[in-house]
C-alpha cells in the first residue's frame, strides 16, 4: 500500500513536470470519455421523452384491424371482419383485455364548420371506454356516455386544434353547434392537447396523424350512416403493458375463430412502438459509442507513446531504483500506475466536461437535466482500462531493463 501510494505520488510528480505534454496526451481520453457520458445522458433523455410521449396515448394500448391487402388468387371479401358482436365477445372472453372500444373513422378530407370558420378534421366514432384506453383527457366538458351511444346523439368532443381553428381557443364551445358533412353536432367537450414529436404514426397503419385534429362522435352514428354493424378497427387496452402483445393475440384468435378464418388480422401495440423507439435509440447510441471508442483508442495510443518516451528519458532512474532494491514488479507497477493516473485524470476531466456539455444541451433544449449514472461508471472504468492497456507494454519494457545497462545509459 505504502509503495503504491508512492507510485501515485511519483506519477503526479512526473506528470506535473511536463504539463503541456501530459494535457495533450489526455486529450483523446477526455474527448472519448466525455462523449460516452453525453451519449449515455442523451440516450436516457431520449427514452424518457419517447416513453412520456407514448404514455399520453396509453401504454397498454393496442389496435386490431383486418388486413386489407388480399393475397393474389384469393376471392375478395367484403366487410371489415369485425362486428359489434365481436366486440361483445372480446369483452366476455379475452381475459387479458381490460377495456375495448369499436372504432370507425373518417380520415380523408373531412371538414368541420362553425359559422364562417373551417377546420380540417378526422372523425372518430368510438365507444365510452375510448377515453380511458386512449388516455384522452378533457380540457373542458364531458366525454361520451352510454346514452349518447344508444340514442345516437349528435354530439361531439373536439381536439384542441379544432377548438383553436373554430373557436379561436377563446370562446366557450360547450353546447354550440358545429357542422360536419352538413350534419350538426353539439360540442360537449374539448380534449387536452397531445403532442407527438418522436413517434410519427400511431394507430392502424399510422392512420392517426394528429390527435389534436380529432372530432370524436358516438360510433353508432357512423354505423347508422353507413348502414352496417361492422367496425373499422378495434382499440383496446390490456391490463398491463407487458400483457399487451398477448392480449392482442387473444383478440386475433377469437376474431379468426368467430369468422371461421375468413379474414386475416393485423395488430399494433404501444409496447411495440416503445420497443421500436428504444431500439432506434440504442442503435444510435452504439454508433456514437463506436465513434467515442475511436477517440479512446487514439487517446490510448497517445498514452502508450508518452509512456515509452518517459521510460527512455528515465532509463537512469530505472537503473538506480533497481540498484537500490526495486524489483521488476515495482518498476512495472510504477509505470503502469503512471499510465493509469494519466488516463484516469483524462477520464475525470472528460466526465466533468461531459456533464457540463450534457447540461448545456439539455437545458438549451428545455429537457430535464438527466445524467446516466451507468454511463458515468462505464466512462470511469473505460479510462482505467485505457490506462492499463496502453501502459502495460511500456511498463513491461521498463521492468525488464537491465540495471547495469540502464545506469550506463546516456
Amino acid at each position: 500500500m505504502n509503495r503504491f501510494l508512492e507510485c501515485i505520488r511519483i506519477a503526479f510528480l512526473s506528470m506535473s513536470t511536463n504539463k503541456l505534454r501530459t494535457t495533450l496526451t489526455m486529450l483523446g481520453v477526455i474527448i472519448g470519455v466525455s462523449s460516452v457520458v453525453i451519449v449515455g445522458a442523451v440516450g436516457k433523455v431520449g427514452k424518457k421523452l419517447v416513453f412520456e410521449e407514448l404514455e399520453t396515448f396509453g401504454l397498454t394500448n393496442l389496435w386490431v384491424y383486418r388486413q386489407w391487402e388480399e393475397k393474389p388468387g384469393k376471392v375478395e371479401k367484403h366487410g371489415t371482419g369485425i362486428t359489434n358482436d365481436d366486440i361483445e365477445a372480446i369483452r366476455e372472453q379475452c381475459s387479458l383485455v381490460n377495456l375495448v372500444s369499436p372504432c370507425l373513422g373518417k380520415w380523408g378530407g373531412v371538414w368541420a364548420k362553425y359559422k364562417t370558420k373551417y377546420a380540417k378534421i378526422i372523425v372518430e366514432g368510438v365507444d365510452v371506454d375510448y377515453a380511458k384506453i386512449d388516455n384522452a383527457y378533457l380540457e373542458i366538458g364531458r366525454f361520451l356516455i352510454t346514452d349518447d351511444i344508444e340514442y345516437r346523439r349528435n354530439i361531439c368532443i373536439i381536439g384542441s386544434d379544432v377548438y383553436q381553428k373554430l373557436f379561436n381557443g377563446k370562446e366557450d364551445p360547450i353546447n354550440l353547434q358545429i357542422y360536419i358533412e352538413n350534419k350538426s353536432y353539439t360540442v360537449v367537450g374539448v380534449l387536452k392537447r397531445k403532442d407527438r414529436n418522436f413517434i410519427e404514426n400511431l394507430g392502424p397503419k399510422g392512420s392517426i396523424p394528429n390527435a389534436n385534429e380529432r372530432v370524436i362522435i358516438p360510433y353508432t352514428i357512423i354505423q347508422h350512416q353507413e348502414n352496417t354493424k361492422d367496425v373499422h378497427y378495434i382499440q383496446a387496452s390490456a391490463y398491463s403493458k407487458d400483457m399487451a402483445n398477448e392480449a392482442t393475440e387473444q383478440i386475433k384468435k377469437l376474431l379468426t375463430k368467430r369468422h371461421k378464418g375468413q379474414y386475416t388480422y393485423e395488430s399494433e401495440t404501444m409496447q411495440e412502438h416503445i420497443e421500436f423507439a428504444n431500439t432506434i435509440i440504442n442503435i444510435l447510441a452504439w454508433i456514437a459509442l463506436t465513434a467515442a471508442s475511436v477517440s479512446l483508442i487514439v487517446g490510448g495510443i497517445g498514452i502508450m507513446n508518452i509512456m515509452t518516451t518517459t521510460i527512455v528519458e528515465r532509463t537512469k532512474e530505472i537503473g538506480l531504483r533497481k540498484a537500490i532494491g526495486a524489483g521488476d514488479i515495482d518498476i512495472l507497477v510504477q509505470f503502469l500506475v503512471e499510465a493509469i493516473v494519466i488516463s484516469l485524470c483524462g477520464g475525470i476531466i472528460g466526465i466533468g466536461l461531459g456533464i457540463i456539455i450534457t447540461f448545456i444541451l439539455e437545458v438549451l433544449n428545455k429537457y430535464p437535466f438527466i445524467i446516466s449514472f451507468v454511463y458515468l461508471v462505464l466512462a470511469f472504468f473505460v479510462s482505467i482500462v485505457v490506462g492499463v492497456i496502453s501502459g502495460i507494454y511500456p511498463a513491461i519494457r521498463a521492468a525488464s531493463l537491465d540495471p547495469v545497462e540502464a545506469l550506463r545509459y546516456e
Binding site: 540498484a323 526495486a326 524489483g327
Partner: protein, 225 residues
C-alpha cells in the same frame, strides 16, 4: 571470523555480436568484515564489472560468490533486489540522484522498497543526511547542491538502510581534489564505525585511507596487498 565476501573463479563475458569480451577472467577474492579496500587498475580492466557482481546488479557467467555465507550465484533472479536493498549500499561516480526529488526524498528511496512506514522513513533519512553533515539541506533539489553535497546525499542514500557493505565506484571521479578529500574523510569515518567498504579509484593518494589494495588488469587480479 568468516569473510563477508568470498569470490571463487569468477568469469564475466560480454558478447557484442561476434566478439566476446572477457570482462573478468577468473577472479578470486576474500574480504573480511570491516575491511576498507581499494580496487585499482586501468580503464576497462573490469573494476566496475566486479563491483556490479559484488553488488548483485549482475551475475557472473561462472564461479561462486558468497555474501555473508549466502551463495548468491544460486539465488533466483527475483531474490536479488532484496539483497541489493538490505545488504548493499551503492555509490556511483555520477551520483545518480533523481533530479525531481529533494535530498531527503532521494535518501528515502531504498526505505520505500524496504517497506518502511512514512514516519520511519522520514526519521531514518533525516538521520542519514545528518550523519553526512547535510542537516540543513534536506529539502534542496539535487541541482541546488554542489557536487560534493550531491555525493554526500548519495552516501546517505547508500547508508540509510544499514547495508553490510558499501560499494563506491570512483566516487570522487567527478569532484575536485578538496571535495574528494571530504568524501574520503566520510568513508574513513564510516570504516572506523565498522562498515566494510570497497572503493574503486584511480587516485593513488586515496589508497592511503585503505587497508588493502587490489589491482586488476585485463579481468584478472594482478596484485593484492
Amino acid at each position: 571470523m568468516k569473510p563477508i565476501i568470498e569470490i571463487q573463479g569468477i568469469h564475466k563475458i560480454y558478447s557484442l555480436g561476434e566478439t566476446r569480451i572477457h570482462a573478468l577472467s577468473g577472479v578470486s577474492l576474500s574480504i573480511k568484515r570491516g575491511a576498507f579496500i581499494s580496487i585499482m587498475g586501468p580503464s576497462g580492466s573490469g573494476k566496475s564489472t566486479l563491483m556490479n557482481i559484488i553488488g548483485c546488479l549482475t551475475t557472473p557467467n561462472s564461479g561462486t560468490y558468497l555474501l555473508e555465507g549466502e551463495n548468491i550465484s544460486q539465488l533466483p533472479y527475483s531474490a536479488l533486489p532484496y539483497i541489493r536493498n538490505k545488504k548493499i549500499g551503492f555509490i556511483f561516480q555520477q551520483f545518480h540522484l533523481l533530479p525531481k526529488l529533494s535530498a531527503i526524498c532521494n535518501v528515502k528511496l531504498p526505505l520505500i522498497y524496504a517497506g518502511y512506514k512514512f514516519r520511519e522513513r522520514h526519521l531514518l533519512a533525516y538521520e542519514a543526511l545528518a550523519s553526512v553533515g547535510l542537516k540543513d539541506r534536506i529539502s534542496h533539489l539535487p541541482n541546488q547542491l554542489s557536487g560534493g553535497e550531491q555525493q554526500r546525499v548519495a552516501i546517505a542514500r547508500a547508508l540509510v538502510n544499514q547495508p553490510v557493505i558499501i560499494l563506491a565506484d570512483e566516487p570522487t571521479g567527478n569532484l575536485d581534489s578538496n571535495t574528494g578529500k571530504e568524501i574520503m574523510g566520510i568513508f574513513k569515518l564510516l570504516n572506523q564505525q565498522g562498515k566494510t567498504i570497497i572503493l574503486v579509484t584511480h587516485e593513488e593518494s586515496w589508497t592511503a585511507y585503505t587497508s588493502r589494495i587490489i589491482k586488476l588488469k585485463d579481468g584478472k587480479v594482478v596484485e593484492d596487498e
